[in-house]
């Protein structure tokens, strides 16, 4: 049986379309309405509420917490002050990525790590000889993600925290509906947004309070389909889709490294040793063999070829998740892993892993797509990520 999240009583009451999906062994909504369009549009134009409770969460305490985390992940956790959060990947000893998530610095020797997959064993194995306690709090902590341009205003009507000045990747403790919660300026959408961390037994009360206040801000509960469009626009990678965690691969050819995924900014070379450092540094010096880049698929031609056959154009409103080869001069130079029509940018965008010789912005590669029942080749222009990054993502008021 799949697990239910602490918000299930609320999310199931809203579900109109029987569109559920699995996420880390939990049941979550794909979209509440028949299509996800309005949920996506609300995300970029008003605000949405997403149940992201299936995230794995570990509480890390003890005098060696920092030393442990700095050994585990690629970023320098000592740079994260109390009340701060940071995004980071982590790797095996060969520098191959295992997972990615956030670390919140909650207090003296007190952190919370999130991950997409369960990591208890890997965490414990890396804590040997250290004074650190690792506790899986996944079931105890419910998480809501409130995202969109109006999210801040909404949240400010139901809690006293000074959210106007809360910077990107900072968090604050406050109270919503009489419940102590932590609010962080984080999300997976590339937009202005917050995540609310709640004791699971009080989850429903907080949900109700947010929904109630949301009426004034066109709040829309949203599912994973809407999130998937937003995260591709924001150039954010997804485990199992854009990379395979090293411990789930059968051969090296299936693995990726943070450098290949464009996460060099999240790898600290001068914090001392960490798991995978040697291999990553080696790659850093020799150069990666693959780089994650954005792709803008020639939608005009896609449209023209449909019209030539007398067909309307099937816009990919729902993000696709598939490995599609990319070619240049008749040779395969990489592969795309997810793509979608961006209603905000009016572009057909995709994430692609490319050989460095084809990875500079402006380069052209080709991608095979089907036009009704025919396979056709289309140009895709290589671009920097993210595709979309509005100023409001990081602004304060």
């Amino acid at each position: 049986m799949l697990k239910k999240t602490p918000f299930h009583s609320r999310t199931s009451a809203l579900m109109q379309a029987d569109q559920w999906r699995r996420w880390a062994g939990h049941t979550v909504a794909s979209s509440y309405e028949m299509t996800h369009d309005r949920e996506y549009l609300a995300l970029r134009n008003a605000c949405v509420l997403l149940d992201v409770s299936p995230l794995c969460k570990y509480q890390i305490t003890g005098p060696d917490s920092l030393r442990f985390l700095n050994r585990l992940v690629t970023r320098d956790v000592s740079k994260c002050s109390i009340g701060g959060m940071m995004y980071t990947p982590w790797c095996n000893s060969r520098g191959k990525i295992l997972d990615d998530g956030t670390i919140a610095h909650l207090g003296e020797n007190h952190y919370r790590l999130t991950s997409a997959e369960p990591n208890q064993r890997w965490l414990e194995d890396n804590a040997i000889g250290m004074q650190v306690q690792i506790e899986d709090v996944g079931d105890e902590v419910a998480t809501l993600s409130l995202q969109g341009p109006r999210s801040r205003e909404l949240l400010m009507t139901i809690c006293d925290a000074p959210l106007g000045g809360l910077k990107y990747y900072r968090c604050v403790n406050t109270t919503i509906a009489g419940t102590p919660v932590m609010v962080s300026r984080t999300g997976y959408t590339g937009d202005l947004g917050f995540e609310i961390w709640i004791s699971a037994d009080r989850a429903e009360a907080v949900w109700d309070a947010v929904i109630e206040a949301g009426h004034a801000f066109a709040l829309q509960p949203a599912g994973i389909w809407a999130l998937d469009v937003a995260r591709i626009e924001a150039g954010l990678i997804m485990l199992e889709i854009d990379y395979t965690p090293a411990n789930k691969t059968m051969a090296d050819i299936q693995t990726s490294t943070p450098l290949e995924l464009g996460l060099q900014w999240a790898v600290s070379w001068n914090k001392g040793n960490f798991v995978g450092r040697k291999a990553l540094f080696d790659e850093h010096q020799k150069g990666s063999t693959s780089i994650l880049m954005g792709l803008e698929i020639d939608h005009k031609e896609f449209e023209r070829q449909h019209h030539a056959l007398g067909l309307p154009v099937p816009y990919p409103f729902l993000a696709w998740r598939a490995v599609i080869p990319l070619h240049c001069d008749g040779e395969q130079v990489g592969y795309a892993t997810s793509g979608v029509w961006s209603p905000t940018l009016k572009k057909y965008i995709a994430l692609g892993h490319l050989h460095p010789r084809c990875a500079s912005p402006g380069s052209l590669v080709s991608i095979d797509l089907t036009v009704d029942r025919f396979r056709r080749s289309f140009n895709a222009k290589v671009t920097k990520l993210p595709f979309f990054s509005p100023a409001r993502k990081k602004d304060t008021v």
Binding site: N45, R150, P312, L345, K346
Partner: protein, 529 residues
């Protein structure tokens, strides 16, 4: 000559087509000046805060026909344009029932089947047929109309292109198209459906903005015209621009400015300077003069040729064609600032999402025809047709938190009202509108914080629309394509050298399309690369 005041091109009027035209000309390297008589650009494509905190769509309200080429060429997304499709239609009926169109195909079919199983099946075939015809005809929107009587190579080539477009259709669709072009929307819909409410809702596409009833011949074409629209490739979808239609004008203006165009507001053009049959410049109401090699008028045909240009420069037959151009208009716009959401008695619990789409008051074709009949002889509908929208449910920035704004397109109230329009008549008709809507949402009156109406009289005074006509003149067969605005002068050029037209009085006509602006730029750049 003061070189400061000389431009490559001057665009008279900063409506959305004028801005599109200016942006294309500026992108082609021309030094362009846009002169707008109001305090803000956009013309009827504007959002205004008439009542503090509430943004009103005082004229245009939705976007569908905006050419995807314009969005792409001018990179309007980068300039801030965000369009949210309206995915549902809610049609409350006088007997307490309702008809809805949902964003999901199956859901809509089930809903129609509740009224007629037959129609639910016909609906699919109807939608597919209209889509096929629209898909084939769509390229014509971007064509500079040819003169079919001409043997000039350019005209012959374009005529061949038009023929190629029509050949895309199979025989059945071609015959259907020929009939649709000449028949009434009601007759056409009678061939497909039996449910009165469904026919009523579909018929509205055939009369929106036009002083015709659904039984008037020609309304079939207008029906098709509205099927040519799309949002992200989804045909027959209407979209709401975040911030209202004014935000679209701002995005186009931003693109034009970035390309180097200069835009002056509060700059009303008094007349076009013509010397030896050639346009040389413009004089403003305040006496300022600007000269240019190219003058483009975004103003409608009557204003351009009967007002801005001295008739002595024009051939008589052209002047009488322009005078004949049919512009009588029946369309009004009402905006309401509301203290909360109206409660429609027909709206079932749990289906409140329908309020985020179009709310249509049109129970049947008979209702619509009656509404037209009431207005035909200089009156107004006792029970008007309405296409309402609550923009604040899509974009909470349109009203203060917890409050709402309702935009209501209303038809029919004659531009040639018996005795003429005045403030008292406006107030009377506004009450007719509110009374009619309140029959379906009884709490409406208690919620109203502020009310505002734009009658054809106001639309004419505010935006210089001829008789307030939202399309700059009827979309009737006798004034479409190579006949818009006049035979031989449908290619954006005019009898005066270097004077061009780029507004809705030219092909393909009204609605927020950007097509006249873009096509005119193509014609201008053909003449003066």
């Amino acid at each position: 000559m003061n070189n400061q005041n000389h431009y490559d091109a001057i665009v008279i009027g900063g409506g959305h087509n004028g801005l599109v035209n200016a942006a294309y000309l500026a992108k082609a390297g021309k030094r362009v000046l846009v002169l707008e008589r109001r305090h803000t650009v956009g013309g009827a494509t504007v959002t205004e805060e008439v009542f503090p905190g509430f943004k009103y769509l005082i004229a245009s309200y939705l976007i569908s026909l905006l050419r995807p080429e314009v969005i792409e060429d001018l990179e309007l997304a980068r300039h801030g344009l965000e369009i949210m499709p309206l995915e549902s239609t809610f049609q409350p009926l006088p007997d307490g029932n309702y008809l809805a169109e949902w964003p999901d195909h199956d859901a809509t079919k089930h809903e129609i089947a509740r009224h007629s199983k037959r129609d639910a099946e016909a609906y699919d075939e109807y939608a597919r047929t209209m889509r096929r015809i629209a898909l084939a005809l769509r390229p014509l929107l971007n064509v500079i109309p040819p003169d079919p009587t001409s043997t000039a190579p350019k005209d012959l080539e374009t005529m061949a292109g038009v023929r190629a477009v029509l050949q895309q259709l199979n025989e059945e669709d071609f015959y259907l198209l020929s009939r649709l072009m000449t028949m009434s929307a009601a007759d056409f819909l009678d061939e497909w459906f039996e449910c009165e409410a469904l026919k009523g809702s579909k018929a509205t596409s055939g009369i929106i903005g036009s002083f015709m009833g659904p039984r008037s011949p020609g309304s079939g074409y207008v029906l098709l015209h509205h099927y040519l629209g799309e949002v992200d490739g989804v045909f027959r979808t209407w979209g709401f621009a975040r911030g209202g239609t004014g935000a679209l004008s701002q995005a186009i203006a931003s693109a034009a400015r970035e390309a180097g165009a200069e835009i002056k507001v509060n700059a009303s053009v008094a007349n076009v300077i013509v010397k030896n049959g050639e346009a040389k410049g413009v004089v403003l109401e305040n006496g300022d003069e600007y000269t240019a090699d190219i003058i483009v008028s975004n103003a409608e045909a009557k204003r351009t040729f009967l007002n801005l240009v001295d008739a002595k420069h024009l051939p008589e037959e052209f002047v009488s064609d322009v005078k004949r151009f049919r512009t009588s208009s029946p369309a009004c716009k009402v905006n309401l600032a509301l203290d909360g959401l109206p409660k429609f008695t027909a709206l079932p619990e749990g289906k409140e999402a329908l309020l985020r789409g179009s709310i249509e008051i049109v129970p049947s074709i008979e209702y619509l025809e009656q509404a037209y009949d009431d207005a035909k002889y200089g009156g107004w509908s006792r029970k008007p047709f309405m296409d309402a929208l609550i923009p604040s449910l899509l974009d909470p920035g349109m009203a203060p938190p917890g409050k709402h704004v309702m935009s209501i397109f209303v038809q029919y109230a004659s531009s040639d009202l018996e005795g003429g329009w005045n403030e008292e008549k406006k107030a009377q008709f506004l009450e007719v509108v509110i009374d009619t809507l309140a029959e379906y949402a009884p709490n409406l009156r208690d919620l109203i914080l502020h009310k505002h109406i734009m009658t054809p009289w106001d639309l004419e005074r505010t935006f210089a629309l001829p008789s307030g006509h939202i399309f700059h003149g009827e979309l009737a067969l006798q004034q479409l394509f190579f006949l818009r605005p006049a035979a031989q002068w449908s290619n954006y050029r005019t009898p005066i050298r270097n004077l061009y037209m780029c507004g809705s009085s030219t092909h393909p006509g009204g609605c927020i399309t950007g097509a006249p602006g873009r096509n005119a730029a193509t014609a201008i750049l053909e003449d003066r690369p």
